[in-house]
């Protein structure tokens, strides 16, 4: 008995901590005791069982005490309990990483407790539902929720979605277990992906990649990202040599069959294969063979399968036009999209996954040590990213689906970079920050999603708003973010000498991110300011705003009696600068009435007519120009330091932003 206790002391301590979480949660009266107050202790008990005789690490006591202190102080702020609850979840991530580092072949055990929490807290999203409906329609396996197909924008018809049948077919066996079985096969696929990454790098790195963003965002969810990771990693792990070219070609083909988005990755795999081939006579024939193979597959699909896989979905030449436009007609916009894909607070890679910075710095070392493998990873990843931006344009992020999913296929590259930068102290710090983000997302599941409206769910949870955003900021501000990133990379590369500068840069970056210019953005106005007014469009899905000519921000609609905006802290003599649009609606501002009429956007002459069709822009709110209205306030407008803005009569008025200026020059 004594031996058992001595050998398993750390496991008992972890189990004890699980029970402690359960008790403290109740003792402190923290919210959600029936859900989070049970599943987090349960996850710790699972971890204790999986821990065996391993040590728990130096972080355990500070983490346990932080949770205890956090639970004690949770009433200080209405959302503080979420941060207190995130501490033991971050502890589980640390545990997973530490045991997989010390003990090989423990990858699956290391990710299981967090995977359990992630799956149980992540709601089934729209993409998963569509996959399940398609799966049910193809396989004939009926479930309670997914048996009936629903038409969605972009689908071919009600039964056939815009997804190819490959992934729905793969996940079909899971549906035999009913609705709850939807994620059975995706979980197996994700775990296989982690095992392959462990083979490519080491178990600890694979666990980091699985439990931190961007991989964590869809880890175990019924989405294609982790299957792409598995296929890509398999391609990299295959031995070098002529006979394996066919296998890599097959992998590329499967990737395209899986999703059109992976065309860039597939092209990159083939280009890397060609680049890695030793010079020999007749080498040039290989790409011709691949092209012929691809053409043959397309012909077979067209005439044997009636275009079921490729032609019905990808036979749209409009996509090529769009890419042409993105490259040649708006190259600057495309470059900015690439920049925002890295830095936007809602969905940018470095914001949700700071550890990638360390991985990028490690790639310099990795390239020197493993040049061939670097080529096989770097070429496909960079082509995938470029293709994503050029093909999707401003909708590169794929929101509102889970944040970060677009970067998942690049995980093998980041994993290899991280393995080379692992021992640096700065790397550990960035991993801890990333672990905190994953833990917050588990405890506050709403943070898994964003809506491309400039308001990040994690920042909102912190009670702050970032003034830096792809839908709000001028793209020139990206230069500051780029400069800071280059500095971090330089410091991490020269970590020995410049280690402490990491903190200076991180503080600067965080400070800049949390800065918000004074004024009121429509989406961020609190209920103390806005009463009754709705945001337009009425649903938050960014797809509604993808094709707007103006800003893609949501607007505040004032159209009915009772809707009002109450701005406090104003004085007679101040000037309101209100960005708004309208068709002649009358707005009441204090005692003044102003007519809001702004013109329709003028289409470029190129778009006005195509053939015999003359195009006219519909008179929708988003098609009216936003103009700044300056309103000087006098003593009749201001009552007790407050001015009321409300709709008086006529068509609705749409507002984007209000600024208050005290400068007399504006009057």
């Amino acid at each position: 008995m004594r031996n058992i206790i001595r050998n398993h002391f750390h496991s008992f301590a972890m189990a004890g901590f699980g029970i402690w979480i359960f008790l403290v949660w109740r003792l402190a009266g923290m919210p959600a005791p029936g859900f989070f107050g049970r599943i987090i202790p349960a996850a710790w008990l699972i971890a204790a069982i999986l821990n065996g005789q391993r040590q728990r690490g130096r972080w355990f006591i500070p983490m346990a005490l932080s949770f205890t202190a956090g639970a004690w102080l949770w009433m200080l702020h209405q959302d503080a309990w979420i941060i207190a609850a995130a501490i033991p979840v971050a502890g589980l991530i640390s545990w997973g990483i530490s045991i997989s580092l010390k003990h090989r072949f423990r990858v699956i055990g290391a990710v299981l407790p967090v995977l359990f929490l992630s799956l149980i807290t992540a709601e089934i999203n729209g993409d998963e539902v569509r996959f399940a409906e398609q799966s049910s329609a193809i396989s004939g396996i009926s479930t309670e929720r997914f048996s009936e197909s629903h038409f969605r924008s972009g689908d071919i018809n009600r039964e056939e979605g815009h997804h190819t049948p490959l992934f729905p077919l793969l996940i079909a066996p899971g549906l035999l277990a009913g609705d709850a079985g939807l994620r059975i096969i995706p979980v197996i696929i994700a775990l296989l992906g982690v095992l392959l990454l462990a083979k490519l790098t080491n178990p600890g790195i694979a666990v980091v990649v699985a439990l931190l963003y961007p991989g964590f965002g869809i880890f175990g969810l019924a989405m294609t990202g982790w299957l792409a990771v598995g296929l890509f990693t398999t391609g990299v792990l295959l031995p070098e040599g002529r006979k394996w070219s066919a296998a890599r070609f097959l992998i590329a083909l499967i990737l395209i069959t899986l999703k059109m988005r992976y065309l860039g990755l597939a092209t990159g795999i083939l280009l890397a294969e060609y680049a890695c081939m030793p010079a020999r006579k007749g080498k040039w024939i290989t790409p011709l063979l691949w092209i012929a193979g691809g053409a043959l597959v397309l012909v077979l699909d067209r005439y044997l399968l009636n275009g079921m896989i490729f032609w019905t979905r990808y036979g749209n030449t409009g996509a090529i036009n769009l890419m042409w436009t993105n490259i040649f007609h708006r190259p600057l916009d495309t470059i900015f999209h690439a920049g925002w894909s890295l830095f936007d607070p809602e969905t940018g890679l470095f914001i949700r996954a700071p550890w990638v910075l360390a991985a990028l710095s490690g790639l310099f070392i990795f390239r020197v040590k493993h040049p061939l493998r670097f080529k096989r990873l770097f070429i496909p990843s960079i082509i995938y990213w470029s293709f994503l931006i050029v093909w999707s344009g401003s909708s590169w992020h794929g929101l509102p689906a889970p944040v970060g999913r677009m970067f998942v296929p690049m995980l093998p590259l980041f994993a290899c970079g991280l393995s080379s930068a692992w021992k640096e102290r700065g790397t550990r710090l960035l991993i801890i920050l990333s672990a905190g983000i994953s833990a917050l997302v588990i405890v506050s599941p709403i943070c898994r999603y964003n809506y491309a409206d400039g308001t990040d769910s994690i920042f909102s949870l912190m009670g702050t708003v970032s003034g830096f955003s792809m839908v709000r900021s001028h793209p020139i501000q990206l230069a500051a973010a780029l400069l800071l990133t280059i500095l971090i990379l330089l410091v991490l590369k020269k970590a020995e000498r410049l280690r402490s500068l990491v903190f200076v840069i991180i503080f600067t970056a965080v400070f800049l991110l949390s800065l918000n210019s004074a004024g009121y953005e429509a989406e961020d106005m609190s209920p103390e300011i806005v009463q009754g007014a709705r945001l337009y469009p009425y649903i938050s899905d960014p797809v509604e705003r993808y094709f707007w000519f103006n800003s893609r921000e949501r607007m505040l609609e004032l159209s009915e009696p009772g809707q009002s905006i109450l701005l406090s802290g104003v004085e007679p003599g101040d000037t309101l600068l209100i960005q708004m649009s309208g068709r002649g609606g009358l707005l009441s501002i204090g005692a003044d009435l102003i007519t809001v009429e702004t013109p329709l956007i003028e289409l470029p002459s190129l778009f006005l007519s195509v053939g015999r069709t003359t195009r006219t822009l519909p008179d929708w709110p988003e098609n009216r120009l936003m103009e700044v209205f300056k309103v000087s306030l006098d003593s009749h407008d201001v009552e007790n330091g407050t001015v009321r803005i409300s709709h008086h009569s006529g068509p609705p008025v749409y507002m984007d932003r209000i600024d208050v200026s005290e400068e007399s020059v504006l009057r």
Binding site: V24, I61, W72, L73, S514, E528, A533, S646
Partner: protein, 259 residues
């Protein structure tokens, strides 16, 4: 050794600069003074196992002024409990004390006592037992620390085609009152469906008030309706204070129509 010392200085300077920048750009607030102590703690705890947690708390404090006191208190208590060097524990105590001095919270005495005792006790194991024991005892005798003034939260509202609906956040012991203001124009019939629970008795747990009328309700479900005119505010107030093993919570949905 020299490298570690210079790193500490760099971290200290980085923290102080961030504090100065925050005050310069957002306007000076006396409530941000404990953040200086937090950055000092960050600098001197470099190369200890508690550093990452204190760093995370520093970032939370820098990003979010509303969560800043929470971040400083957790860091301070953590330093008091696990700091091996006396200077770390004393700085932790100063962080706790300065926060409680500038931002008074209820039941702050146990916090000060535990922080002071931990800072002065040299034995690590004793401290590790002292904190949880102090936690349990103080919860039973004095309750949990909470804000002295709990500001009521105003519920968001939307009016569409003459129908009014409110978006009411959860009411619990950290958010004890929610206000539903009437639209500034017209007379409205407002209904509210309430579900309250998390207590183990039948003593009234919430008050619904409109003007001078007030109604006390027990846990369970209720639906009420009111007539509201401009200037009226319907208040949902949790009247229960914190009690161990109770999770008092009120969920409500409300809507209305113009008369």
């Amino acid at each position: 050794m020299k490298t570690i010392e210079s790193s500490k200085v760099a971290v200290l300077l980085a923290g102080y600069t961030a504090w100065a920048a925050a005050n310069l750009f957002r306007g000076f607030s006396p409530a941000s003074i404990p953040l200086i102590v937090l950055f000092t703690l960050l600098g001197i705890s470099l190369s200890t196992s508690m550093f990452p947690l204190i760093f995370a708390c520093s970032l939370i404090g820098l990003i979010s002024p509303v969560l800043m006191p929470w971040a400083v208190l957790v860091s301070g208590l953590l330093a008091c409990a696990t700091g091996s060097a006396m200077k770390i524990r004393i700085t932790g105590f100063i962080a706790v004390a300065s926060t409680l001095w500038l931002i008074p919270v209820s039941s702050s005495i146990p916090l000060i006592v535990i922080a002071a005792a931990s800072a002065l006790i040299g034995k690590k194991h004793l401290r590790c037992f002292l904190i949880p024991a102090g936690f349990i005892i103080s919860v039973f005798f004095t309750g949990l620390p909470g804000s002295l003034i709990t500001e009521p939260v105003i519920a968001g509202s939307t009016i569409a085609a003459g129908a009014l609906s409110y978006d009411i956040p959860e009411v619990n012991t950290s958010r004890q009152e929610v206000l539903l203001p009437a639209p500034f124009e017209g007379t409205w019939v407002v209904w509210i469906a309430i579900e309250a629970g998390g207590v183990r008795d039948s003593i009234p747990m919430m008050a619904i008030s409109l003007g001078e009328d007030m109604l006390f309700l027990q846990s369970g479900t209720d639906t009420l309706s009111f007539t509201m005119i401009p200037g009226d505010t319907l208040a949902i107030t949790l009247v229960r204070k914190f009690k161990p093993f109770n999770h008092s919570v009120i969920h409500a949905v409300a809507g209305g129509e113009r008369l």
